[in-house]
Symmetry: C2
Subunit: 208 residues, 2 copies
């Protein structure tokens, strides 16, 4: 199946600016993108990056400088068959998890992200379009039903975990795939358990 | 399968104290416990609550006032067959998700929680014991391997989402099961999308 992976090549991961500078955010975002592409390929999918600017990865890249919603809708318009869309910041995505998505039944199969987002979906219905503004998983369910599509869901922690903020970094350090996890470790990020509340945090120390 | 559900009946969910008073936290925690028990039963499991004090729910309750780790290890000591342990604050747990856990292969099957915790597991190996302190999912993997147990994992957003803090409440409002979701809604909790950063928050307004 064709799997579109949208990527913001210009100002990715701005909510990580308290821990990474602009160059670090771009580099980390690209590491996550590469992990996602590897997971898609490992699941037998056929990845295509939909990027706001050129990016050097081992997959076809289509450049579309528009915001996420019109760019993805244009990709859906041009599709001649089932299409999956998988976000580029799913650093925990494994071939097994992506495989469950591609195999799941439904005209539209949604993977909710933490915080109301839609981290991935499969569209097998020509009437489905996206709207990533607001609580998108709720809107996508409604849009699919209004189009007469049968809606399925995939229950995956790996696909529901998008990496936006510092509080997401422990998940990458504990369960991330090759490149993203190594990227953080090589830059000295470590797990620390805070004694006073037992919470797990990502802290930066000496690089390896 | 016997499914032990540990529950802190005395001071549950202290990290929700910025949004709920002590009585509210107890009541909400009990709503979540009831949802978990319903999901376990719906999956064909045989739930048993392991509580620090008596609690009125529709399941056998064993009272053990000790901390989580020794109480659960005592339950594992006394087991004469496979035992699952599922935390009481998994407000998104569905029969389907619990069913995947109970059916998963492995001597020890772990479900990581966000933040390094262990939200649920199945133990089919007599040598497995728990240690919930710190990054428990990492420790549990090690303990299982040292006991010679083959370790499996279940990849479930519903089971990986434990409800500890205010930032977890949107997940309950969007994807929670019957009682927990209704509990929040009846007390006026709603989803709000912040205009400035697009983040989704749970805010409290007028009760329904």
């Amino acid at each position: 199946m064709r799997v579109v992976v949208p990527f913001d090549a210009e100002r990715p991961k701005t909510r990580l600016s308290d821990v990474l500078d602009a160059e670090g955010r771009r580099s980390f975002a690209t590491a996550m993108l590469r992990d996602v592409l590897a997971a898609v390929r490992g699941a037998g999918g056929d990845p295509a990056v939909l990027s706001t600017a050129p990016v050097g990865v081992d997959a076809p890249v289509e450049v579309d400088p528009r915001p996420l919603t019109p760019a993805v809708n244009d990709a859906l318009d041009g599709a001649d068959g089932p299409t999956a869309v998988v976000m580029a910041d799913l650093a925990l995505a494994s071939p097994g998890a992506v495989g469950r998505l591609l195999a799941a039944e439904g005209d539209v199969v949604l993977v909710p992200g933490r915080g109301g987002g839609t981290n991935a979906f499969v569209a097998r219905h020509p009437g489905f379009r996206v709207d990533y503004h607001g609580v998108s998983v709720r809107d996508h369910r409604r849009i699919a039903r209004e189009a007469g599509a049968e809606v399925g869901h995939v229950d995956s922690y790996r696909l529901s975990t998008d990496v936006d903020e510092r509080t997401d970094l422990p998940e990458v350090l504990l369960h991330g795939r090759d490149r993203s996890r190594r990227w953080l470790r090589e830059r000295g990020f470590r797990i620390r358990v805070d004694g006073d509340d037992g919470r797990v945090r990502a802290v930066q120390g000496q690089p390896e």
